[in-house]
C-alpha cells in the first residue's frame, strides 16, 4: 500500500486494543444471546419437522415464482441506483442557489355543506407552479403560484367561485416563504442510507389507518425524498433500491434515457402510481391516476389526481425576487 492518503490514514488511526474487561463485556453479551437461543431451540424442536416441511414447500413456490417472473423493473431500478450512487453530490457554490421548478397538480375536495343549495361534494384539480432555491448555507426559498382550477363539471366552476373558494386556495396569487434545513418536512430527518433501514424508517412515519397499500405509501415518501431535495447520492441510491424492493412494480417503458415505472393498486378504487426517472436517478415526473373514477365526487375514470413534473435543477446566482 503506497498511496500517501492510505498511509496517512493508517498511521494516524493507530491500533487501539481492547482490555480484558472490554472482551469480557462482549463475550458475556454473546453468551447471553447463545443461551437465549438454545432455550428457544429446545422449545421449538417438537415443531421442527412440520415447520421444515412448510419451509421447503415455500422455497419451492418462491423459486418457481422467481423463475417464471423476472422483474425488469427491479433490475432497471438497481442499475439506476448504482448510477445515482456514483454521481457526484450536488455542490452549491457560496452565494449561489440550486434552483428547481416543478409543475404540480393536486386534487381538492370540498364537502357539500360548504355550498348553498348543493347536495354533493365537489372535487377539482388545483395546478401550482413551485419554485425552490436552496442556498449554499442551507436556506431555502419556496415560491408557489396557484393557477386556475380545473373542474369536472361546468356547475362545479360556478359553485366554486360563488363560494369564493378561489380566495381560500389563493388562485392567481404567488406566495413565498423562506425556511432553513430543507424543502419539506421530510428533510428534517436524518434518513438511513441502507435500503432496508430506509424503508423501515419510512414506514415508521405512516399514520395508522391509511387506506393505501403500504408499498404505495413507501413509494410516495421515497420519491418525495429524492424529488426536489439535494439528496446525497447515498440517500438517492437507497431510496431507489427501496423502490426496487416493492411488490407489483412494473417497468412501463424505457426510452430516451428515462425509465417509467408503475404500481397499480385497489383502495378500493383502482389507482396507479407512475413515476419517471432519468438515468442518474433524478425524478422527472410522477402521477397518481384514479383508474375507475369516483362517481360520488364526479371524478371521471383515468383522471390524474396528483401530478408533478420536475425541471432539472440548475445553479443560479440568486433567487428570482419577482
Amino acid at each position: 500500500m503506497t498511496n500517501p492518503i492510505d498511509i496517512l490514514l493508517r498511521t494516524l488511526a493507530g491500533s487501539p486494543s481492547p482490555t480484558n474487561a472490554d472482551a469480557a463485556l462482549a463475550r458475556n453479551a454473546l453468551a447471553q444471546a447463545i443461551a437465549n437461543e438454545s432455550s428457544n431451540q429446545t422449545r421449538r424442536r417438537k415443531w421442527a419437522v412440520p415447520a421444515l416441511a412448510v419451509s421447503l414447500s415455500l422455497v419451492v413456490v418462491i423459486v418457481a415464482i422467481q423463475v417464471v417472473k423476472p422483474s425488469p423493473a427491479r433490475a432497471t431500478l438497481l442499475e439506476i441506483a448504482q448510477a445515482a450512487e456514483l454521481a457526484d453530490p450536488l455542490t452549491i457554490p457560496p452565494q449561489s442557489y440550486a434552483y428547481t421548478k416543478s409543475e404540480v397538480v393536486v386534487l381538492g375536495t370540498v364537502p357539500a355543506d360548504a355550498f348553498a343549495g348543493r347536495t354533493s361534494p365537489m372535487a377539482y384539480l388545483l395546478p401550482q407552479t413551485r419554485e425552490i432555491w436552496v442556498g449554499s448555507e442551507n436556506t431555502v426559498q419556496i415560491r408557489t403560484t396557484t393557477n386556475s382550477p380545473v373542474f369536472f363539471a361546468p356547475q362545479d366552476k360556478v359553485d366554486y367561485y360563488e363560494a369564493q373558494l378561489d380566495k381560500v386556495d389563493q388562485v392567481g396569487q404567488t406566495t413565498s416563504q423562506t425556511v432553513t434545513g430543507g424543502t419539506s418536512i421530510l428533510d428534517e430527518r436524518d434518513w438511513p442510507t441502507e435500503p432496508d433501514a430506509l424503508k423501515t424508517a419510512i414506514e415508521d412515519t405512516f399514520q395508522p389507518g391509511s387506506v393505501m397499500p403500504a408499498d404505495v405509501d413507501v413509494a410516495h415518501v421515497a420519491l418525495s425524498l429524492i424529488s426536489e431535495s439535494s439528496a446525497s447520492p447515498d440517500l438517492r441510491a437507497a431510496a431507489l433500491r427501496a423502490l426496487a424492493g416493492l411488490n407489483d412494480l412494473h417497468l412501463v417503458q424505457g426510452t430516451d434515457g428515462t425509465s417509467t415505472f408503475s404500481i397499480t393498486y385497489s383502495t378500493p378504487h383502482e389507482g396507479s402510481l407512475t413515476f419517471v426517472l432519468d438515468g442518474a436517478g433524478k425524478v422527472v415526473s410522477r402521477r397518481t391516476v384514479n383508474i375507475d373514477g369516483d362517481p360520488g365526487l364526479g371524478i371521471p375514470p383515468n383522471t390524474v389526481i396528483e401530478g408533478m413534473d420536475y425541471e432539472p435543477t440548475m445553479i443560479v446566482a440568486e433567487p428570482d425576487n419577482r
Binding site: 496517512l8 488511526a13 454473546l30 447463545i34 441502507e194 446525497s232
Partner: protein
C-alpha cells in the same frame, strides 16, 4: 475437524445446530472488530458496540453466505452498519478517532517520506474535516481499505457493493481527500513550517 482449522463458514454452519460453536468466531475476530469500532467511534463506545456486532452476527448467522470461507468482511459490514446507526442516532459528523497524543508521528513505511514526521494533530484535524465531507459510502470504502486493509473483494463483500464500485469510490475518496483544503498544504514540502524544512534536532523523535 478441529475448530482451530475449520473455516469461518464451517463454524457458522455448525453453529446453527450448536449455537455455542459461534464462540470460535468471537475468539477469532473480537480484537479486530474492536479496533475498527474504536477507530470509528472512540474507545468509550467501542466495548458496547463491539458486543452489538457479535450479538447481531450471531442472530443473523443463518443468512451468512456459506460459499465465503472467511467471515471477516461480513463482520466488518455489520460493524459498519452499527457504527452508521450510532452516528445517525447521535446526529454527529462521522470522523476517524486518531491515535495521536504527541505532535509528531513516524511513517510506518520507511520508503514513504510524504508523511514522515508531520504535524499529526494539525493533519488529524484537516483529515477529519476532509473525511466528514465524503459521502458515507465513500468514507466507509476508504477506511475499510486504507485503515483496515481489507482487499477490494473484501470491501465489496462487507458493503454489499460491486467490486468495480469499490475501486471507483476509493479513487474518488482519495482524490477528494487529497484535494481537500489544508491537506494538500500539509503534503506540500515547500510549505513553511513543514517538518521536512525544519532541522532534524527540532523535529523530535
Amino acid at each position: 475437524m478441529d475448530d482451530r482449522e475449520a473455516s469461518d463458514a464451517n463454524i457458522i454452519s455448525r453453529s446453527l445446530a450448536h449455537p455455542e460453536v459461534f464462540g470460535v468466531i468471537f475468539d477469532r475476530y473480537h480484537d479486530t472488530i474492536f479496533r475498527y469500532v474504536a477507530r470509528r467511534q472512540g474507545l468509550d463506545q467501542a466495548p458496547d458496540l463491539t458486543a452489538d456486532v457479535f450479538v447481531r452476527a450471531f442472530r443473523f448467522r443463518a443468512r451468512y453466505d456459506a460459499s465465503r470461507p472467511n467471515c471477516r468482511p461480513w463482520l466488518y459490514g455489520i460493524a459498519t452498519n452499527i457504527v452508521g446507526d450510532e452516528i445517525r442516532r447521535q446526529r454527529r459528523a462521522d470522523r476517524l478517532y486518531l491515535a495521536v497524543s504527541g505532535v509528531r508521528v513516524e511513517s510506518p513505511d520507511p520508503f514513504d517520506r510524504s508523511v514522515d514526521k508531520i504535524d499529526a494533530q494539525r493533519i488529524g484535524r484537516v483529515l477529519n474535516d476532509g473525511l466528514a465531507r465524503l459521502s458515507t459510502t465513500d468514507r466507509n470504502v476508504l477506511i475499510l481499505y486504507a485503515v483496515e486493509q481489507l482487499t477490494y473483494q473484501e470491501v465489496a463483500e462487507a458493503l454489499g457493493t460491486p467490486i468495480g464500485t469499490v475501486r471507483s469510490r476509493l479513487a474518488r475518496a482519495r482524490r477528494k481527500l487529497r484535494e481537500h483544503e489544508g491537506l494538500l498544504t500539509a503534503f506540500d514540502p515547500s510549505t513553511p513550517n513543514h517538518p521536512d524544512q525544519v532541522p532534524d534536532e527540532e523535529v523530535g523523535s
